[in-house]
Amino acid sequence: MKLLRNRRALIILAGLIVAANGFFPALWILFTSFKTEVELMRVPITIIPQAPTIENYIRVFVDQPILRFLFNSVVVAVLSTLLCVTCSALAAYALVRLRLPGAGIILSVLLAIAMFPLISMMVPLFQVMRDLGLLNTWWALIFPHAVLSMPVCTLVLISFFQDIPRDLENAAMIDGCTRLGALWHVVIPLTAPGVFTAGILAFVNSWDEFLLALTLSPRVASRTLPVGITLYQGEFSFPWPIISAALIVAIVPICIVIAIFQERVVSGLTSGGVKG
């Protein structure tokens, strides 16, 4: 009996370690975000804020257009996700179902191209977007971000499409559906969890992307959240409580998304075995 209770305690301890490892940094900046500059100076440092203040959160919204950053991030992430999932779904379906010669090689080529390092594309993309007049627009990020997640989305969708029996589509086509009609009316609804999973992964990848967002949107008003957050630091000053508050404001939306869809995200990450 005692042995069993010890085992239980060990299991809980194991869980606590994993959870603490993941949550600790976010918790720490959450505490920091409620402290005053004065309290931060104190030695030894305090853990829980002694005199919690929301002043830092007010400064977050006053000092920089963070709602604008948030809006840019949402628009770019949503549109690039739609574009990525559409292209990946069409490609995955063609590769799984349409008996293309060399489907395996086509898939490898697609993955290989989409996995080129971003830094190599950065300069020429800057020139292309400048020539097209797309710098500082959402489009400059939407197209590259869609490519960023294409490998993971295609792999996830392939693994889901493979599990749908051909007979279902054949039945739909006998009833007068076209191929694309069968894909839209039969396959997509049946693989909705997979499509959804692919979508969340694409969303997170776009939400997190920094290098291109930094380079292709030099104007303040067109920055996304990850780049916008770096604007809170002054030339010589680093107002940590305000930066912490800004980080919390920026982290909360993505936390809600992954908390709601945690099981989907895990299954997607592991079935694709990739983060783009």
Binding site: P44, R99, L110, L211, K275
Partner: protein, 303 residues
């Protein structure tokens, strides 16, 4: 299917094939526009002089001059060396820590969400945010690292302003950020190992360590391989975390190849030379990507 049938396609098959290529078109058009054309431009740029701060020079063709320049550029060599060191430390580091996290997370918990979110949060956090948070941890006066040292009665350290310590701090941040993804992949691998293997080993009197060495590790090998390759592909491109923590400093002691390329092109405005460096990086990364693809190559039309 016999060869006779295979060689002459039925009208249905032919129309399916046409539809199939049409359905691949959007993905490949996007790849052509966002990747292939820029890469072609990059290669072209790398053979030209192109310095935005010297527009009167024009953009003459210079052959391999930019590449030759790279051979003698100490800062480039250092950036390559730093990138290699980051790979050598953070890739195995993330896999070992990730394996530890996966083993801890692979327990029969009654409440699953704290563990799952504990693994997902570092993954979902933008790299720059992780960099900023760790920069705060290692801040000299108010950071938690020095607070702990003081608590132990030790002298506080200049974490981010002395080269070796800065490298260490950055590695720690990268390992924290990337080990949770590794853990998720390995956890999925752990869950495919049948319980009966361990029960049989138990009956034979194998210790926990023997079980780990003889069952867990060999069965996890494919998952570990995938995690290794993926970590390596991203580690070559290391940019965000050192950018947020030290911006390559002190001096250039924590500067990675990606950061040097970024500085050469965006700050120094030397597009020609920056492009040559980016081509070199792209070749290295292509080699490693091909290793991964050789491993995952499969025919999607079959199970």
């Amino acid at each position: 299917m016999s060869d006779a049938i295979r060689h002459r396609l039925t009208p249905l098959e032919r129309s399916e094939r046409r539809l199939g290529f049409a359905m691949l078109a959007p993905a490949f058009l996007l790849l052509a526009a966002v990747v292939l054309y820029p890469i072609a431009e990059l290669i072209r740029n790398s053979f030209h002089f192109n310095h935005l701060a010297q527009p009167w020079m024009g953009t003459p063709f210079v052959g391999f001059e930019n590449y030759v320049k790279a051979l003698g550029d100490d800062r480039f060599h250092e950036a390559v060396l730093h990138t290699l060191l980051y790979i050598l430390v953070t890739v195995p580091g993330a896999v070992v820590i990730g394996l530890g996290l996966a083993l801890l997370a692979n327990q029969p918990f009654r409440v699953k969400w704290p563990v799952r979110l504990g693994l997902l949060l570092p993954w979902a956090l933008p790299l720059v945010f992780a960099g900023l948070i760790f920069r705060w941890f290692f801040e000299f006066n108010q950071g938690i690292a020095n607070a702990m040292l003081r608590g132990l009665g030790l002298e506080p350290l200049n974490w981010l302003t002395s080269p070796g310590l800065a490298f260490f701090a950055i590695c720690l941040a990268i390992i924290w950020k990337s080990s949770s993804f590794v853990a998720l992949v390995l956890l999925a691998g752990l869950q495919t190992i049948p319980k009966s293997f361990y029960e049989a080993a138990e009956v034979d009197g194998a210790t926990k360590w023997q079980q780990f060495r003889e069952i867990t590790l060999p069965m996890l090998r494919p998952a570990i391989f995938v995690a290794l390759i993926f970590r390596t592909i991203t580690a070559i491109q290391t940019f965000d975390i050192p950018y947020a923590m030290t911006n390559g400093g002190p001096g250039n002691s924590t500067e990675t190849l990606a950061m040097y390329i970024h500085k050469t092109t965006v700050d120094f405005l030397d597009l020609g030379y920056g492009s040559a460096l980016a081509v070199l990086m792209f070749i290295v990364s292509a080699v490693i990507t091909s290793l991964y693809l050789r491993h995952t190559r499969r025919d999607p039309g079959r199970h």
